[in-house]
Symmetry: C2
Subunit: 123 residues, 2 copies
Protein backbone atom coordinates (compact mmCIF):
# COMPACT_ATOMS: atom_id res chain seq x y z
CA UNK A 1 0.00 0.00 0.00
CA UNK A 2 1.56 3.29 -1.08
CA UNK A 3 1.28 6.56 0.84
CA UNK A 4 -1.30 7.67 -1.69
CA UNK A 5 -3.67 4.97 -0.48
CA UNK A 6 -3.59 6.04 3.19
CA UNK A 7 -6.83 7.52 4.43
CA UNK A 8 -6.58 11.29 4.88
CA UNK A 9 -8.08 11.17 8.36
CA UNK A 10 -8.52 8.49 10.95
CA UNK A 11 -12.15 7.98 11.92
CA UNK A 12 -12.93 8.56 15.61
CA UNK A 13 -14.72 5.74 17.40
CA UNK A 14 -18.30 6.19 16.28
CA UNK A 15 -20.81 7.73 18.65
CA UNK A 16 -24.05 6.10 19.73
CA UNK A 17 -26.22 7.68 17.06
CA UNK A 18 -29.80 8.29 18.14
CA UNK A 19 -32.40 8.03 15.35
CA UNK A 20 -34.62 10.97 14.41
CA UNK A 21 -38.22 10.65 15.55
CA UNK A 22 -39.40 13.57 13.42
CA UNK A 23 -37.90 16.19 11.09
CA UNK A 24 -36.18 19.04 12.98
CA UNK A 25 -37.27 22.66 12.60
CA UNK A 26 -36.41 24.12 9.17
CA UNK A 27 -34.07 27.09 8.79
CA UNK A 28 -36.95 29.19 7.50
CA UNK A 29 -39.18 28.43 10.50
CA UNK A 30 -36.29 29.02 12.89
CA UNK A 31 -35.59 32.45 11.38
CA UNK A 32 -39.26 33.39 11.67
CA UNK A 33 -39.68 32.16 15.25
CA UNK A 34 -36.41 33.71 16.46
CA UNK A 35 -37.90 37.15 15.72
CA UNK A 36 -40.89 36.36 17.95
CA UNK A 37 -38.75 34.96 20.77
CA UNK A 38 -36.54 38.05 20.56
CA UNK A 39 -39.61 40.21 21.11
CA UNK A 40 -40.34 38.16 24.24
CA UNK A 41 -36.74 38.27 25.46
CA UNK A 42 -37.19 41.34 27.66
CA UNK A 43 -38.71 41.51 31.16
CA UNK A 44 -40.58 44.76 30.51
CA UNK A 45 -42.07 43.43 27.27
CA UNK A 46 -43.16 40.22 28.98
CA UNK A 47 -44.85 42.21 31.75
CA UNK A 48 -46.58 44.51 29.27
CA UNK A 49 -47.79 41.56 27.23
CA UNK A 50 -49.07 39.85 30.36
CA UNK A 51 -50.69 43.06 31.63
CA UNK A 52 -52.67 43.20 28.37
CA UNK A 53 -53.38 39.45 28.18
CA UNK A 54 -54.63 39.36 31.77
CA UNK A 55 -57.41 41.89 31.04
CA UNK A 56 -60.85 40.84 29.87
CA UNK A 57 -60.78 40.13 26.13
CA UNK A 58 -56.97 40.25 26.11
CA UNK A 59 -57.20 44.00 25.63
CA UNK A 60 -56.03 46.98 27.66
CA UNK A 61 -55.91 50.75 27.37
CA UNK A 62 -52.37 52.08 27.19
CA UNK A 63 -53.18 54.19 30.26
CA UNK A 64 -53.54 51.00 32.33
CA UNK A 65 -50.23 49.48 31.35
CA UNK A 66 -47.66 51.37 33.38
CA UNK A 67 -49.05 50.34 36.80
CA UNK A 68 -46.30 48.59 38.73
CA UNK A 69 -43.82 48.74 35.84
CA UNK A 70 -41.21 51.28 36.80
CA UNK A 71 -40.12 52.62 33.41
CA UNK A 72 -40.88 55.86 31.57
CA UNK A 73 -43.78 56.26 29.15
CA UNK A 74 -41.45 56.52 26.10
CA UNK A 75 -39.82 53.24 27.17
CA UNK A 76 -43.23 51.60 27.43
CA UNK A 77 -44.15 52.94 23.99
CA UNK A 78 -40.92 51.56 22.54
CA UNK A 79 -41.53 48.10 23.97
CA UNK A 80 -45.17 48.07 22.81
CA UNK A 81 -43.95 48.94 19.31
CA UNK A 82 -41.50 46.00 19.33
CA UNK A 83 -44.31 43.63 20.37
CA UNK A 84 -46.62 45.09 17.73
CA UNK A 85 -44.02 44.87 14.96
CA UNK A 86 -43.37 41.22 15.88
CA UNK A 87 -47.08 40.51 15.44
CA UNK A 88 -47.71 39.67 19.10
CA UNK A 89 -49.96 42.71 19.69
CA UNK A 90 -52.31 44.86 17.68
CA UNK A 91 -53.31 48.39 18.56
CA UNK A 92 -56.34 50.54 17.88
CA UNK A 93 -57.08 54.18 18.67
CA UNK A 94 -60.53 54.81 20.18
CA UNK A 95 -61.35 58.41 21.16
CA UNK A 96 -58.37 59.74 23.12
CA UNK A 97 -56.83 56.38 23.93
CA UNK A 98 -54.87 53.63 22.26
CA UNK A 99 -55.95 50.08 23.10
CA UNK A 100 -53.60 47.12 22.78
CA UNK A 101 -54.74 43.58 22.20
CA UNK A 102 -52.76 40.32 22.23
CA UNK A 103 -52.70 38.16 19.10
CA UNK A 104 -53.69 34.80 20.62
CA UNK A 105 -52.79 32.66 17.60
CA UNK A 106 -49.23 34.04 17.53
CA UNK A 107 -48.70 33.17 21.21
CA UNK A 108 -50.47 29.81 20.77
CA UNK A 109 -48.19 28.96 17.84
CA UNK A 110 -45.06 29.59 19.95
CA UNK A 111 -46.59 27.61 22.80
CA UNK A 112 -47.23 24.67 20.48
CA UNK A 113 -43.71 24.75 18.99
CA UNK A 114 -42.22 24.60 22.49
CA UNK A 115 -44.57 21.77 23.49
CA UNK A 116 -43.40 19.81 20.43
CA UNK A 117 -39.73 20.42 21.26
CA UNK A 118 -40.44 19.41 24.87
CA UNK A 119 -41.84 16.14 23.50
CA UNK A 120 -45.19 16.89 25.13
CA UNK A 121 -47.10 16.71 21.86
CA UNK A 122 -46.46 15.09 18.51
CA UNK A 123 -45.38 17.33 15.61
CA UNK B 1 -62.66 78.37 46.01
CA UNK B 2 -59.10 79.75 46.11
CA UNK B 3 -56.38 78.96 43.57
CA UNK B 4 -54.89 76.60 46.12
CA UNK B 5 -57.92 74.37 45.86
CA UNK B 6 -57.70 73.98 42.06
CA UNK B 7 -56.75 70.50 40.95
CA UNK B 8 -53.16 70.34 39.70
CA UNK B 9 -54.11 68.50 36.53
CA UNK B 10 -57.28 68.10 34.53
CA UNK B 11 -58.30 64.49 34.11
CA UNK B 12 -58.53 63.26 30.50
CA UNK B 13 -61.81 61.65 29.46
CA UNK B 14 -61.58 58.25 31.06
CA UNK B 15 -60.84 55.20 28.93
CA UNK B 16 -63.00 52.08 28.79
CA UNK B 17 -61.15 50.20 31.50
CA UNK B 18 -61.15 46.44 31.04
CA UNK B 19 -61.14 44.40 34.26
CA UNK B 20 -58.34 42.00 35.11
CA UNK B 21 -59.26 38.35 34.76
CA UNK B 22 -56.11 37.14 36.56
CA UNK B 23 -52.96 38.63 38.06
CA UNK B 24 -50.36 39.59 35.41
CA UNK B 25 -46.87 38.09 35.38
CA UNK B 26 -44.69 39.30 38.25
CA UNK B 27 -41.48 41.23 37.67
CA UNK B 28 -39.47 38.34 39.11
CA UNK B 29 -41.03 35.76 36.77
CA UNK B 30 -40.63 38.10 33.79
CA UNK B 31 -36.91 38.56 34.53
CA UNK B 32 -36.44 34.81 34.80
CA UNK B 33 -38.39 33.94 31.63
CA UNK B 34 -36.75 36.71 29.56
CA UNK B 35 -33.41 34.91 29.98
CA UNK B 36 -34.94 31.71 28.54
CA UNK B 37 -36.63 33.51 25.66
CA UNK B 38 -33.34 35.28 24.89
CA UNK B 39 -31.65 31.88 24.60
CA UNK B 40 -34.35 30.92 22.06
CA UNK B 41 -34.09 34.22 20.16
CA UNK B 42 -31.58 32.98 17.60
CA UNK B 43 -32.25 30.87 14.49
CA UNK B 44 -29.14 28.70 14.92
CA UNK B 45 -29.97 27.99 18.57
CA UNK B 46 -33.56 27.08 17.67
CA UNK B 47 -32.33 24.68 14.99
CA UNK B 48 -29.78 23.08 17.33
CA UNK B 49 -32.40 22.67 20.05
CA UNK B 50 -34.81 21.13 17.56
CA UNK B 51 -32.08 18.88 16.09
CA UNK B 52 -31.54 17.49 19.60
CA UNK B 53 -35.23 17.36 20.57
CA UNK B 54 -36.15 15.53 17.36
CA UNK B 55 -33.82 12.60 18.17
CA UNK B 56 -35.01 9.59 20.16
CA UNK B 57 -34.97 10.39 23.87
CA UNK B 58 -34.44 14.10 23.15
CA UNK B 59 -30.71 13.42 23.00
CA UNK B 60 -28.06 13.79 20.30
CA UNK B 61 -24.33 13.43 19.93
CA UNK B 62 -22.61 16.73 19.18
CA UNK B 63 -21.23 15.10 16.02
CA UNK B 64 -24.77 14.84 14.62
CA UNK B 65 -25.71 18.46 15.18
CA UNK B 66 -24.00 20.36 12.40
CA UNK B 67 -25.82 18.55 9.55
CA UNK B 68 -27.60 21.16 7.45
CA UNK B 69 -26.64 24.04 9.74
CA UNK B 70 -24.08 26.08 7.86
CA UNK B 71 -22.00 27.54 10.69
CA UNK B 72 -18.56 26.66 12.06
CA UNK B 73 -18.02 24.18 14.90
CA UNK B 74 -16.92 26.95 17.35
CA UNK B 75 -20.16 28.82 16.56
CA UNK B 76 -22.17 25.66 17.25
CA UNK B 77 -20.28 25.18 20.52
CA UNK B 78 -21.01 28.77 21.53
CA UNK B 79 -24.73 28.41 20.87
CA UNK B 80 -24.92 25.07 22.69
CA UNK B 81 -23.26 26.75 25.68
CA UNK B 82 -25.86 29.53 25.68
CA UNK B 83 -28.69 26.95 25.64
CA UNK B 84 -27.00 24.94 28.38
CA UNK B 85 -26.41 27.98 30.59
CA UNK B 86 -30.07 28.97 30.20
CA UNK B 87 -31.07 25.53 31.48
CA UNK B 88 -32.67 24.40 28.21
CA UNK B 89 -30.05 21.69 27.55
CA UNK B 90 -27.81 19.44 29.58
CA UNK B 91 -24.63 17.80 28.32
CA UNK B 92 -22.75 14.67 29.21
CA UNK B 93 -19.42 13.31 27.98
CA UNK B 94 -19.47 9.59 27.09
CA UNK B 95 -16.24 8.12 25.71
CA UNK B 96 -14.99 10.50 23.00
CA UNK B 97 -18.25 12.34 22.49
CA UNK B 98 -20.42 14.92 24.16
CA UNK B 99 -24.16 14.23 24.16
CA UNK B 100 -26.74 16.98 24.53
CA UNK B 101 -30.21 16.47 25.91
CA UNK B 102 -33.17 18.85 26.05
CA UNK B 103 -34.67 19.76 29.43
CA UNK B 104 -38.35 19.00 28.71
CA UNK B 105 -39.75 20.69 31.83
CA UNK B 106 -38.01 23.99 30.97
CA UNK B 107 -39.52 23.99 27.47
CA UNK B 108 -42.88 22.82 28.81
CA UNK B 109 -42.92 25.67 31.33
CA UNK B 110 -42.37 28.27 28.57
CA UNK B 111 -45.03 26.57 26.47
CA UNK B 112 -47.52 26.75 29.34
CA UNK B 113 -46.76 30.42 30.08
CA UNK B 114 -47.44 31.30 26.44
CA UNK B 115 -50.63 29.24 26.40
CA UNK B 116 -51.83 31.16 29.47
CA UNK B 117 -51.00 34.52 27.85
CA UNK B 118 -52.77 33.36 24.67
CA UNK B 119 -55.84 32.70 26.81
CA UNK B 120 -55.79 29.05 25.76
CA UNK B 121 -55.53 27.75 29.32
CA UNK B 122 -56.40 29.19 32.72
CA UNK B 123 -53.51 30.40 34.91
Amino acid sequence: MSNQDLPLSVASPSCEATPRTRPPMSGETAAELAVLFKALADPVRLRLLSAIASRAGGEACVCDLSAGIDVTQPTISHHLKVLREAGLLTSERRASWVYYRVVPHALARLSEVLAIEAGAVTA
